[in-house]
Amino acid sequence: MEVGIVGYGAYVPRHRIKVEEIAQVWGADAPTYKKGLRLEEKSVPSPDQDVITMSVEASRRALRRAGVDPFELGAIYIGSESHPYAVKPSGTVVAEAIGATPNLHCADLEFACKAGSEGMFIALSLVKAGEMKLALGIGADTSQGAPGDALEYSASAGAAAFIMGRERLVAACEHTFSFTTDTPDFWRREYQHYPRHGGRFTGEPAYFKHTLSCARELMKRAGLEPGDFKFAVFHQPNGKFPLTASEELGFTREQVQQGLLSPSIGNTYSGASPLGLTAILDVAKPGDRILMVSYGSGSGSDGFVWRVTERIEEVRSLAPQTWAQIKDRPVYVNYGTYAKFRGKILKAS
């Protein structure tokens, strides 16, 4: 029995800050980030936006494309490392806002940048197991880097939502695979505002090891090669890592370009590869195969092989497309406004 995506939706905040604007505050070299990490600008959530608001908007868009009654959703899983509440699930508010309550399962997930793809996997698996007809998986974040830290140039905001089901698919899931180890590359302890990273663990033993291992094993088990895919999307902590990974795996620039959003909006963490997938679905043709591999620090990678169906043509224009949103009248903010928006300014209480 085929299971897969019935509807998808993306949400990217309108505010942006440029790499130069951050670099000039900290006396850093902008070209290092622009050329070295292929970052131009990143999305900035306004003070009235968070994981819940972005998830609601992305889910409403997914519902429009799915054309299903939200009441039929059997579960909602939101993956994020920036849930607004430490205790009280984001999913409860989102489920209420989209009209899916009260007959459904709900829990928030956390796994650095791969909590969203894990949510997609669980939603997909529950449908596959026959537990429910439809399930919603969301990846969303409004992540923060410490002021002046390298992560401040990339940590951004966005959300992607996927309704999984058995009928009227826009993309069938052909294979999945996941790769997990204990790797101390990045963490945030409870009550800490900003994350820490174990410098030497970033890159090779973390992002590349997990992304490449997951992608290779997934393709091996599926009996597929890079040439069998029209598109590939990888986790994108910056613009450079996913390009390096894709080259090492044997993918061309053409295969990854459409889903590579980080140079324009930064690293949306749990939203990153899921948002890249939405951008690909916006243009993919029936029959196209898509490889998706996420990465979350700590560490793990989820891999999916998607095959686009005929129905994609009917649904893609039913909600705002991802690149169109990114390019739609961005509002640029200076560092002062950015610091205010992100609560980086200590005020008298």
Binding site: D48, D50, I52, V56, V93, E96, K340
Partner: protein, 131 residues
């Protein structure tokens, strides 16, 4: 600041834009009412408001009330929803100096207020420029 209990009771309106349509004369009420002020009817059917419309008038708040001071200056508009009633709400994601009567806007889910760093977060609707 509105209380948490009141906010919770108003979730159908604040989250899902649910209004009441009078079964007798079709008048739409948002928030819903118990008695129709046009025909005194007491039977209503739930209806969801359209989520796009046009700015009919607006004002810019420069001296904001407690809880909203960080947001000033911000715009509050009366919007005529497409083929429906008028709704008043904040307009965000726009430069208030450039906002104009007649602008197309749509409803979006946003944080409306929060009780400091530790209290509950209240969500609801605001208008944003239509794409």
């Amino acid at each position: 600041m509105i209380g948490l209990a009141r906010h919770w009771r108003e979730i159908p309106q604040r989250y899902r834009y649910e209004a009441a349509r009078c079964d007798k004369c079709s008048a739409v009420y948002f928030p819903p009412r118990l008695v129709c002020s046009k025909c005194r009817g007491r039977e209503f059917t739930k209806t969801v408001l359209p989520q796009t419309g046009k700015v009919e008038t607006f004002t810019v708040i420069r001296v904001a009330p407690t809880g909203f001071t960080d947001e000033a200056p911000y715009a509050v508009a009366v919007v005529k929803l497409d083929d429906s009633i008028r709704v008043m709400a904040q307009v965000v994601d726009c430069e208030v100096e450039k906002l104009a009567i007649g602008d197309r806007v749509r409803l979006e889910f946003r944080k409306v207020q929060q009780d400091g760093e530790a209290g509950a977060i209240c969500y609801g609707y605001k208008f944003v420029p239509e794409a």
